[in-house]
């Protein structure tokens, strides 16, 4: 049977892995190559690198990181952050990424997803969706690029720019649209839960996962091993992504998978 995947996420800036709460108060978690090797040894099913470098001149750093990791770690590598053009996708794939994650640019230009998946295959295009419960959306939302006339009928709205910008786009409609445009997978992050350690937004995860035919990775809010299991069992996710519980030595990836196996979840041990 196909195993549910456990994916450690490495936020990388200036060649270091960092982790913060809602993109502030960043803590240094170490060298990305060392961390990637450690997670590989612990049985991680894939690794996701998010380039959170703010300035474009620092972008090449992630390419070197990926090149080094890809020469030593032989599991799938996903890279996201700052992907704006098909050329960015090409450079990341050539550096050794197996999949490229597109977030803000997909909202600004959905054709980028179609073009990139048409050229390199759906299997390497992940669309990352940052979603927030509509009733908790901040006032003064940006209405420049409202896609669906501000009607967020599913109850979750898509945010871009690292969760700072509301779009008025319904998260469920968006996930379906991205599947049509050729996304091979969806990385779904709950903005409400990200960094809280309260667990995934299970309602959101289940809604999206049950409504699309492509795999969904749950993200945002993991504070313990039970959250990972619940993401699969109650959220119906195909894979679970977490960062801080692994980075600071609380749990190993293997402990996470052993816990999930004990809960009856098929994992690769």
């Amino acid at each position: 049977m196909l195993a549910k995947r456990v994916i450690p996420c490495l936020d990388v800036t200036a060649g270091r892995v960092v982790k913060g709460v809602n993109f502030v108060a960043l803590r240094d978690a170490g060298d990305p190559i060392e961390i990637a090797k450690r997670y590989d040894e612990q049985g991680a099913d894939e690794l996701t690198f998010l380039d959170i470098t703010a300035s474009s001149d620092g972008r090449d750093v992630i390419l070197h990181v990926i090149e080094e990791v890809a020469a030593q770690v032989f599991i799938p590598l996903t890279v996201g952050g700052g992907v704006r053009k098909v050329e960015d996708v090409r450079r990341l794939l050539n550096a050794g990424a197996d999949k490229v994650s597109i977030n803000t640019s997909a909202v600004q230009n959905p054709d980028l997803v179609a073009e990139a998946s048409g050229r390199y295959g759906s299997q390497c295009i992940v669309v990352a969706i940052d979603a927030k419960r509509a009733n908790s959306a901040p006032v003064g939302r940006n209405t420049d690029n409202v896609g669906s006339a501000g009607s967020v009928s599913s109850g979750w709205e898509v945010f871009t720019h690292g969760g700072r910008k509301a779009t008025g786009i319904d998260a469920l409609a968006w996930a379906r649209k991205m599947q049509e445009y050729g996304a091979g997978e969806i990385l779904l992050t709950s903005m409400d839960r990200d960094g809280t350690r309260e667990g995934f937004d299970l309602e959101l995860t289940r809604l999206i996962s049950d409504s699309v035919d492509i795999p969904v990775i749950a993200s945002g809010g993991v504070g313990g091993l039970d959250h990972l299991a619940r993401g699969i069992l109650a959220g119906h996710a195909d894979a679970v992504l977490a960062a801080s519980i692994f980075h600071f030595g609380e749990f190993t990836v293997r402990q996470a998978k052993e816990y999930m196996a004990a809960r009856g979840i098929e994992v690769r041990l």
Binding site: A70, A97, D98
Partner: protein, 211 residues
């Protein structure tokens, strides 16, 4: 030893070449679309990503079909993913003719989101780590336990019309052929270059294989 990784412009071959370099540090691994280099290689790897119609078109646009068929006749030859699918006669994906080295067709997982029973819906693509049941002994399975997990990512699978070539099977809603072998050819639907220790072992076995 010279190992040619056939490059016909579809997708990223760096993962494949890096993994081969890792298991065969003294081999010369060449990612190439040059028929002459393919002809001179001791071993040939035929990978593939994306859609089969595009892959076949690009193979022919580079006039690589004769070099591929030559290599598949006489030298250790490893097909990966679409590189397995293209060895068959026909694919449902875009109703494409393949190279016809193996009898059978390539079909899509019945979907969308067909019922997969206990674990709920069947997502397509089939993406992630699944078990490979070995069908009979083969030098490329050496040192790899039966039902070991390998990394898959695909929406189509081969359905050989000859049972004899089936050397590995995987369950995903149905039981499908994930590895085929005949003489000097071995081909897999999964990605050994992304399947950690089991995948590296399979590549190492390919490097030392003398069919």
């Amino acid at each position: 030893m010279r190992v040619a990784v056939i490059d016909y412009g579809m997708g990223n071959l760096r993962s494949v070449s890096k993994a081969l370099e890792h298991v065969a540090p003294r081999a010369e691994v060449l990612v190439t679309s040059d028929a002459g280099i393919i002809a001179s290689a001791d071993r040939v790897v035929f990978p593939g990503q994306g859609a089969m119609p595009d892959c076949m078109r690009e193979v022919d646009a580079r006039n690589l079909r004769p070099a591929i068929l030559d290599a598949a006749r006489e030298r250790p030859f490893l097909g990966i993913c679409i590189g397995l699918q293209m060895l068959f006669e026909f694919s449902e994906e875009g109703n494409t003719s393949g190279l016809g080295l193996f009898p059978g067709q390539v079909r899509r997982f019945s979907g969308p989101a067909a019922d997969a029973g206990v674990m709920g819906r069947l997502k397509v693509p089939h993406m992630g780590w699944n078990r490979v049941q070995q069908r009979g002994a083969h030098p490329l399975w050496s040192g790899i336990e039966d039902a070991a997990r390998f990394y898959f990512v695909h929406s189509f699978f081969a359905q050989p019309s000859s049972e004899e070539i089936v050397t590995g099977e995987t369950e995903y809603g149905i039981c499908f052929t994930c590895a085929v072998a005949r003489d000097n050819i071995f081909a897999v639907q999964f990605h050994p270059e992304k399947s950690q220790s089991s995948g590296l072992r399979l590549l190492a076995n390919f490097i030392s294989w003398n069919p």
